[in-house]
């Protein structure tokens, strides 16, 4: 672990913040690249990208009240959004907020279909980079105690699961798969993003068992409940979509 990467004239530069910044820049670059490759008109790209970005950051902050409890509510004000001393929040809330923001923007501009597949590989790679920052920062104690040989010691006298690295390893593999599938005929019109979200939700559900997040209901953390709701929603969408295709 290395929470402070280096110092500039006595001012610490934090690993968590550096990798958060790198993750955002990587996501924006990849989305712009994909948008260009897909010949996505700039008139549509600008509002959807802006709405997705703002929705993602606001969603990450808002969701933290559900995941971490009411004691975090004072950090969910307008001004707190712009306080870099407070962490960015939850990636799951960020994904939800970005999706809702992008969806509202695309409906508002009357866009037919969905160009959101451009976001799928970017989200996977951005998440992988962000998780390295979480690992270096030792955020939330990293994971539950373990005796496995790859356990790490984040300032304790016992080993814990390097849970952010599990997440990052999956994200890199998932990014490569999404890039390979991005031109597949069955993965167009929003399907690639839904596939990407479903895959991440399944893996995140299991990674949560070795993390230190707050248990909310029937032994499950808020993040696991979010993943289950997301998977159920995608399942309902899939069934309804199949019915529509069958009747068409």
């Amino acid at each position: 672990m290395r929470p402070v990467l280096f110092e500039v004239d006595g001012v610490p530069v934090y690993a968590y913040g550096v990798f958060y910044l790198l993750a955002i820049l990587t996501m924006l670059t990849l989305v712009l690249y994909e948008a260009r490759r897909r010949h996505w008109p700039k008139e549509e790209l600008a509002p959807i990208l802006l709405a997705g970005f703002v929705g993602g950051i606001v969603g990450a902050r808002l969701s933290i009240v559900f995941f971490n409890g009411w004691q975090t509510a004072p950090h969910v004000t307008f001004m707190a959004l712009f306080d870099p001393r407070i962490g960015p929040g939850s990636i799951l809330g960020g994904i939800g907020g970005a999706y809702i923001g992008g969806y509202i923007a695309s409906k508002a501009i009357g866009k037919p279909g969905c160009a959101c597949d451009a976001f799928a590989p970017a989200m996977a790679l951005g998440n992988a980079i962000g998780r390295i920052g979480v690992f270096l920062g030792g955020v939330d104690g990293l994971g539950k105690p373990t005796t496995l040989p790859w356990g790490v010691q984040p300032g304790n006298n016992y080993l814990v699961h390097p849970a952010p690295l599990y997440d990052a390893a999956f994200d890199v593999a998932w990014f490569l798969l999404l890039m390979a599938l991005r031109d597949h005929p069955a993965m167009q019109n929003g399907n690639l993003l839904k596939f990407g979200l479903a895959g991440y939700a399944v893996v995140r559900f299991f990674i949560e068992f070795v993390r230190n997040n707050r248990v909310i209901f029937v032994g499950l953390t808020g993040q696991q409940l979010f993943c289950l709701v997301l998977l159920a929603g995608l399942g309902v969408w899939f069934v309804l979509h199949q019915k529509r295709l069958a009747t068409a």
Binding site: A51, V76, F78, A108, V139
Partner: protein, 139 residues
């Protein structure tokens, strides 16, 4: 101000709304931030401000689209400043911030300087995006 007006008929209307969104967002939020920091209004106004920001942008998205795009642009530039400032200030996540307070992670002056720097850096690509949208409206 007519919030629910018919669709745009001229380029000038679109441009006026775009800039109204940008300037209005900064002006109204700056006033609210100042009165909150001065302690003239209770802290919960910050929550209302956040909810109102989202609600108004969504409302404008379906009624006066270019006001919403302008406000979103301003919101995004301010958030980019925070993201750029993150390496100087973000040491931990909410779990720590809510428990022991975040004062020990990064000093206020470094964060303030970082935010100012981030804001200027964010404005550079932001300016070109806004100029692109503004020019494209005329085509």
């Amino acid at each position: 101000m007519n919030f629910l007006r018919p669709p745009y008929t001229t380029v000038e209307e679109k441009r006026r709304d775009l800039w109204a969104g940008v300037i209005g967002w900064f002006a109204i939020n700056a006033i609210l931030v100042v009165v909150t920091l001065a302690g003239w209004v209770p802290a919960w106004v910050g929550v209302v401000q956040l909810v109102a920001n989202i609600a108004l942008i969504v409302l404008f998205a379906f009624t006066r689209r270019y006001v919403a795009i302008g406000a979103l642009w301003a919101f995004a530039v301010a958030l980019i400043a925070t993201v750029i400032d993150a390496p100087a200030g973000t040491a931990a996540c909410f779990a720590v911030a809510s428990g022991s307070g975040c004062g020990e992670f990064g000093c206020n002056s470094a964060c303030a300087v970082g935010f100012g720097f981030g804001f200027l850096v964010g404005l550079i690509p932001g300016y070109f995006i806004l100029r692109g949208v503004h020019r494209r409206l005329g085509k």
